[in-house]
Amino acid sequence: MTLEADTLNSTLDSVRVGIVTFPGSLDDRDAARAVRLAGGTAVPLWHGDHDLQSVDAVVVPGGFSYGDYLRAGAISRFAPLMEQITAAASGGENALPVLGICNGFQVLTEAHLLPGSMIKNNHLHFLCQDQRLRVENADTAWTASYAAGDEIVVPLKNQDGQFVADERTLDELEGEGRVVFRYVGGNPNGSRRDIAGISNAAGNVVGLMPHPEHAVEAGFGPDSSAVGQVGVRGGTDGLGIFTSVLKKLVK
């Protein structure tokens, strides 16, 4: 390893990414692991606290916060820490990068950080499969390690995964390049216009239903990647999401 790489690694290490845990969060540990594997420092955050602990970015992870009672994400959205996150994420130029994965995406829509909402899958079944996605926008805080048009394979596992919004909102998202991820190879849940993930206007807040944090380490990922079969659980296509934000924050 060269000296330069060492320097980069130690710099990435200085980036602190907060992972929020709600009652019923499932994938907070996996998200923290993804941050560490990308080279950053993961900071556990508790939903009931009022302190963001000076983190440089935040991941709102997947799971079933509050058992999905009322609506997925509807109760978590009013957690004390969400107030700090919403304020920091709306802060203009230096707004806090925030990523919502699955239930985290649902929380961000309920918090009005992202438009639209998720309803039950059109086929009503819980779905768990490796899912091919196209990265439509590689200019967001969370996708800069990819090129627009790149395809990735990451797990998709949810029951309330059907993204819906009114036509005007959908046209706005498309027109402003805010569709960040789109399902490829068939629409798995009835999401409008095959949308798997979107961003806010500034590009610092991104939400997606599939789980990039489950495709970051060979041996523990999906059996395939965008290039095809990669050996048993060898897929690591999701890692780029986490390296994207670390590199952006180091710059």
Partner: protein
């Protein structure tokens, strides 16, 4: 104890996957007279004492902010149940 009832329904333009599944099951049981089903939610807010206009206003605000998501749902009713009403009694 007085109760305020809040009804929330999926917006008409939103496909209601649960309602659709129920609509599919009805004819299998011989209920052939229904052309569609939409499934909503009913909340009962219990009040200790009298239901004032202020409390009712609180219920309307709660209905619009927490109990429903205006992107996908409409609040179709916020109403005080008359004292002694059998509706919804367990």
């Amino acid at each position: 104890m007085p109760r305020i009832v809040v009804d929330v329904m999926p917006k008409p333009e939103i496909l209601d996957p649960q309602g659709k599944a129920i609509a599919g099951a009805l004819p299998r049981l011989g209920f052939t007279g229904f052309s569609g089903v939409r499934q909503g939610k009913r909340f009962e807010l219990t009040v200790d004492g009298e239901v004032t206009e202020e409390l009712l206003e609180q219920a309307r605000t709660a209905a619009a902010t927490l109990l429903s998501n205006p992107v996908i749902e409409d609040v179709t009713r916020v109403e005080v149940l008359p004292e002694g009403s059998a509706e919804g009694e367990q």
